[in-house]
């Protein structure tokens, strides 16, 4: 059971994002890439929900879909009590300031022809009626907040290092005082020593502005550091969601176990002794996922039922959700009584 005081800021229910595949002479839709296929979770106000998984598992698509950068295929998304899943892009516009995104590649996501100041000010121009002076002051504050020297306001992105560019991206996301920020692999392109700087910055800002993060990453150790709860995605579905400590200490889903065991251990003595679960085979195509459990083709603990029936995503321990037949059969009484 969730803590009653914790109020969900974002509620995602059965989110689906399918990209149609057209083929044949008349370009009829013959299938769909099920990038996100029935994902349900909450993001609690003030927390950082880590979303991990291998590339292609749909975690980035999921992040973008939640911000309605796509028109979603199905499901509902409610942010701060407002249902936005079916809203038109026009109606969404006034809500946009509250939800922002930080992208992976700061190089590619900043317009090289705009100065830093212009980049950070752009959302202010779009969504606020501040005067020029007020905007200038706000840009200065934001630059201070992310640790960029104000003197560099007139420079262009190429004059900055990767870490600084990511700070610019963060400052832009912060410009409109958002409540909720989707961080899509914000540190993947950065050097190790810089990653730490950016992660610390994100944590500081969260504290200062009361932000809620959805932190998408494939770096499990970094997610362990920053996230309060972690959701693990595989092939378009969340297979396990749990509080951080519980997940890392005692992963329930076989995929989570494999994933964690594959993370290299930066301690040679431990590294020698650790037992690794090496997954065999490739991730199946999301256009043609296996029947039954998505993971059945690679699961070391696969059972007959796995390739026939899709396991239910359910709460098996307080605050811990998992989608695996092992916990349906061996689960506790309240697990069998669990809702669909």
């Amino acid at each position: 059971m969730l803590d009653d005081t914790a109020k969900p800021l974002v509620q995602v229910r059965d989110l689906q994002m399918h990209f149609p595949i057209y083929s044949g002479l008349l370009r009829r839709q013959t299938g769909a890439v099920k990038a996100v296929d029935g994902v349900t979770f909450d993001v609690i106000e003030g927390e950082t929900l880590g979303l991990v998984g291998e590339s292609g598992c749909g975690k980035s698509t999921c992040g973008r879909a939640i911000l309605r950068l796509y028109d979603i295929t199905g499901g509902t998304i409610s942010i701060n009590g407002t249902e936005i899943g079916a809203m038109s892009q026009g109606d969404l516009r006034p809500l946009r300031p509250a939800m922002q995104m930080v992208f992976q590649d700061p190089q590619a996501s900043l317009n090289p022809r705009m100065t830093v100041e212009a980049i950070i000010r752009e959302p202010l121009d779009e969504h606020t009626k501040l005067s020029t002076d007020e905007k200038e002051a706000k840009v200065g504050e934001l630059m201070d907040a992310v640790g960029l020297n104000r003197r560099f306001a007139k420079r262009y992105p190429h004059a900055f290092s990767g870490g600084q560019r990511q700070r610019i991206g963060i400052a832009r996301a912060l410009a409109l005082n958002p409540k909720f920020i989707v961080c899509d692999e914000p540190i993947a392109a950065l050097d190790v020593s810089i990653q730490a700087q950016v992660v610390n910055l994100l944590e500081d800002l969260q504290e200062k502005f009361g932000l809620t993060y959805l932190f998408i990453s494939h770096d499990l150790s970094m997610v362990r550091h920053i996230a309060t709860r972690v959701a693990v995605m595989y092939l378009g579905k969340v297979v396990e969601l749990a509080p951080r400590e519980a997940l890392y200490a005692d992963p329930l889903h076989p995929y989570t176990k494999a994933l964690l065991s594959a993370v290299p251990e930066p301690d040679p003595s431990l590294a020698q002794t650790r037992e690794r679960i090496i997954l065999q085979g490739d991730v199946p195509s999301p256009a043609n996922p296996p029947t039954g459990c998505n993971f059945c083709t690679r699961c070391p603990a696969v059972m007959d039922v796995c390739s026939k029936i899709e396991p239910t995503y359910q709460e098996v321990q307080p605050g811990r959700f998992v989608a695996c037949h092992h916990y349906e059969t061996t689960g506790t009484a309240d697990a069998t009584a669990g809702q669909a």
């Binding site: 083929s23 044949g24 002479l25 008349l26 370009r27």
Partner: protein, 335 residues
């Protein structure tokens, strides 16, 4: 790939019909009168009769479908008839030029050879010269050769044919007297001497046009080579211990050619469009000159048919370029 090609072909049908309609309406609305070049002494009532004799009395919504029928049904029938001795056309009215009163396709067929010979040859020559220039320029970036190539390209881009063409004529025809200044379209190549004559009369127009093609294609080639020379797989090839010639001529060139081939394919319709200015200067009376004269004379059927043929070629070569891209680049999959 086949499905893709077929689908694109299907899509191009309504596209082309729309283009035909737009061209037709543009010509319809354009100020211009096939009678405008008639002497003023011809009484207006005579002009009016002549206009009616050209079929201009009918409104556009009768003339446009008629043209479509002539273009898509009657003309192919005539081709079949002339090829197999059949009689499908049964004397149906073909598309007739206002100016010469002869079927426009006969004239086009007459013009095609010299256009292909001169403009086509210049394209081939231009490309053949351009590719090595582009390759070497890129491989030896900023070298003297590269600078020279850049200079030649600049000349090709900036010197218009009406200047370079006349300059060549003044030097080689007027001053030196080596080459003819006027292209003889009636020359029949049947022996060594006439072949030599043909070569001589082709040299100048081909060079003038080739310079432009060279300028363009060599720049593309150079840019594309530079792009690929910096790629990781080039390093891999070197790390595999491949000979430098293999690295450049096999690994880099093959990749660099993909976009260049597209550019070359997209340029081919312009061959059929002729080279209006160059044709004019050297009197290579090809398709370009045909179009310009037809335009001047408000020869609507000729202009309409020629522009539409160009439109077909452009659409087709766009398709060919796309398909070629798919053929040469295994990363592209159309399905």
């Amino acid at each position: 790939m086949l499905t893709y090609t077929f689908r694109r072909l299907l899509i191009s049908i309504p596209t082309l019909l729309f283009i035909a309609f737009v061209i037709f309406m543009l010509l319809e609305l354009a100020p211009g009168d096939p009678m405008a070049n008639m002497p003023l002494t011809i009484p207006p009532e005579v002009k009016e009769k002549m206009r009616l004799a050209l079929g201009l009395g009918e409104p556009w919504f009768i003339r446009f479908p008629l043209w479509l029928k002539q273009f898509f049904i009657v003309e192919p029938q005539y081709w079949i008839d002339s090829a197999f001795g059949t009689n499908f056309a049964e004397g149906a009215q073909r598309i007739i030029s206002f100016q010469s009163r002869s079927p426009v396709f006969d004239t086009i067929a007459q013009r095609l050879p010299q256009t292909l010979w001169v403009v086509g040859m210049s394209y081939v020559v231009g490309v053949i010269i351009a590719l090595p220039i582009g390759i070497i320029s890129a491989y030896r970036q900023y070298s003297v050769f590269d600078q020279a190539g850049t200079f030649i390209s600049m000349i090709g881009f900036s010197v218009p044919p009406f200047f370079s063409g006349v300059l060549l004529i003044v030097i080689f025809s007027v001053q030196l007297g080596w080459l003819p200044s006027i292209y003889d379209t009636t020359l029949v190549v049947n022996d060594w001497a006439s072949f030599k004559l043909q070569l001589m009369q082709m040299v100048m127009p081909v060079m003038v046009l080739a310079l432009q093609t060279t300028a363009q294609v060599s720049r593309y080639m150079r840019a594309s080579m530079l792009d690929n020379l910096g790629q990781d797989y080039v390093r891999t090839a070197r790390a595999k211990g491949m000979k430098e010639s293999v690295v450049v001529m096999r690994h880099v060139l093959r990749n660099s050619m993909i976009p260049v081939i597209t550019v070359i394919a997209l340029g081919i319709p312009s061959i059929f469009g002729g080279a209006i200015i160059t044709e004019q200067i050297f009197k290579v009376n090809g398709l370009g000159q045909l179009l310009i004269i037809a335009l001047q004379g408000s020869d609507i059927p000729m202009v309409m048919t020629l522009t539409f043929l160009f439109a077909i070629l452009i659409v087709m070569f766009n398709l060919i370029a796309d398909v070629l891209y798919g053929v040469f680049d295994p990363r592209i999959r159309y399905d």
